[in-house]
Amino acid sequence: MLTSIEHLLNWGRASSLWPLTFGLACCAIEMMGAFAGRFDLDRIGVIPRATPRQADLIIVAGRATIKIAPIVRRLWEQMPEPKYVISMGSCATCGGPFYYDNYSILKGIDAVIPVDVYVPGCPPRPEALYEGVLKLQEKIMKEPFLRRRARLVASA
């Protein structure tokens, strides 16, 4: 019973992922390309929202500087639970080409927010972002959040 309710809720969560429109650098252009006509992420329920209060996914697209890092953190904190993070591109994942000899770029966005899916590439093609979103949907479908809560209630 719990499992099937959970499956239904997970299905609902996975098929209406609303990302925050937050582009940092070059990857944001490919993200826009993924939202536009040819790739059309709307087809799998990914509709960009302009405010973190309505979003449940943040796609960190591009290099994050040390100056922007606290703002990314605050945006993530402003999003309601459940919330997910896709790190798009090498820069957001590990610093990318800005890893060496650089004083201003954060070496990976996972230093400030927890990341669910990493999409490699410089920049990743829109297809790669698509794959990342599908992987995130797979992950959400497997999430045992109700069973986990039931176990917590039982043990308390």
């Binding site: 070059c26 390309g33 536009a36 500087t65 100056k67 703002i71 080409p97 800005f98 770029i105």
Partner: protein
């Protein structure tokens, strides 16, 4: 008795769907009127100029793609290579020069299309975004077939280009040109006569000619204010001296003029591409240049016309494999600082239309 009003300081950005990246603006408002705008930049500062000092010239090309204006990667490569080739005295084969000219114009179209699409969203026309990205994907496909990249190409190398265009590419490029001219007419039908669009852009955000000159504005922003200056005409590089094209100039200096200038530039780009395809000679595409390129001791300042304006590179070499200092004169940086002049006195609802119309790319501003 006059109504007592108080000034309100509003923080716009860094996360705002219409700031085209991570720009923060501190706006002083008196009711609906904008009293002052202070742009706060540096949220995308990636220390490219410093990093370039530790990399060889060929490695720097890939850094110029990413670290500078990422909407026009080829224009950055051209800017860097114009400095490198001028200082090193490297001759480029004819075919490579024509290819470069053609690719630069395709890049201009792709960059202006992103600008038009995102600006369309800003002022509430989502259709434009979808249409522009449809055409942009076609340009990107052409790039992908010849350079292998969608956004960052590393296609221009010292002394030429990396690879020749594949068979049948020119026909595809010309077919795109024919198609694109009709699409431009469609964009005009969608926007130019649209009363909502005209009310939101005509007479809004006027940049006077003198202010534009004093603040060092360049590119379409300056040309919309009546300054007929284009580096492609004034200091021709590659084959721009041998192709025929006009510089669109408008006198009004408002958002609508900037829009019309860019639309006309895209049409002129198509014209240049056609001439390049016609005159493209057979032959070598790359001069013999050693991989570990060493430039002679000296310094050089060169300028090129990127889609955003006058992109200058000041390069100092001490004779080693890496540059001693690279200074980038970014067009978006100068244009951004015209912003506080343009915006003063307008309503808060016009802010987005004005900001979008000057077409900034934050990577170009912050570097």
């Amino acid at each position: 008795m006059a109504l007592r009003t108080e000034e309100l300081i509003l923080n716009m950005g860094p996360q705002h769907p219409s700031t085209h990246g991570v720009l923060r603006m501190v706006v002083t408002l008196d009711g609906e009127n904008i009293m002052d705008v202070q742009p706060d930049i540096g949220y995308l500062h990636s220390s490219v100029e410093k990093m370039m000092e530790y990399r060889t010239y060929i490695q720097n090309i890939s850094l110029a793609d990413r670290g500078m204006d990422y909407l026009a990667a080829l224009a950055n490569e051209m800017a860097l290579l114009r400095a490198v080739e001028t200082l090193g005295g490297i001759e480029t084969p004819l075919r490579a020069q024509w290819l470069r000219t053609m690719f630069l114009e395709f890049q201009r179209i792709a960059s202006h299309l992103v600008w038009l699409g995102t600006w369309g969203i800003d002022i509430g026309a989502t259709t434009v975004f979808l249409w522009c990205f449809r055409e942009r994907e076609q340009v990107i496909d052409l790039f992908e077939q010849s350079t292998g990249g969608r956004l960052h190409y590393v296609y221009f190398r010292p002394g030429g280009v990396y690879e020749d265009i594949p068979e049948g590419w020119l026909q595809k490029a010309l077919a795109f040109c024919d198609d694109f001219e009709q699409r431009l007419v469609e964009y005009h039908q969608l926007l130019t006569g649209n009363p909502i669009f005209e009310v939101r852009t005509k007479g809004i955000g006027v940049l006077p000619r003198e202010v534009a000159i004093n603040l060092g504005a360049s590119g379409p922003v300056a040309r919309a204010s009546g300054i007929a200056f284009d580096v492609r005409k004034a200091f021709p590089y590659m084959k721009y001296a041998e192709v025929e094209f006009d510089i669109p100039v408008r006198e009004e200096g408002d958002c609508f003029a900037r829009y019309m200038v860019r639309m006309e530039e895209m049409r002129q780009s198509v014209r240049i591409i056609r001439q390049c395809a016609e005159k493209l000679p057979p032959g070598e595409i790359r001069a013999k240049v050693p991989i570990t390129l060493r430039l002679p001791k000296g310094e050089v300042y060169t300028r090129t016309e990127s889609p955003r304006g006058d992109l200058g590179i000041y390069l100092v070499s001490q004779g080693g494999e890496t540059p001693y200092r690279v200074k980038i004169r970014a067009p978006a940086f100068s244009n951004l600082f015209a912003l506080s002049e343009i915006m003063r006195g307008w309503k808060v609802a016009d802010m987005i239309a004005i900001l979008g119309s000057i077409d900034i790319v934050l990577a170009d501003v912050d570097r």
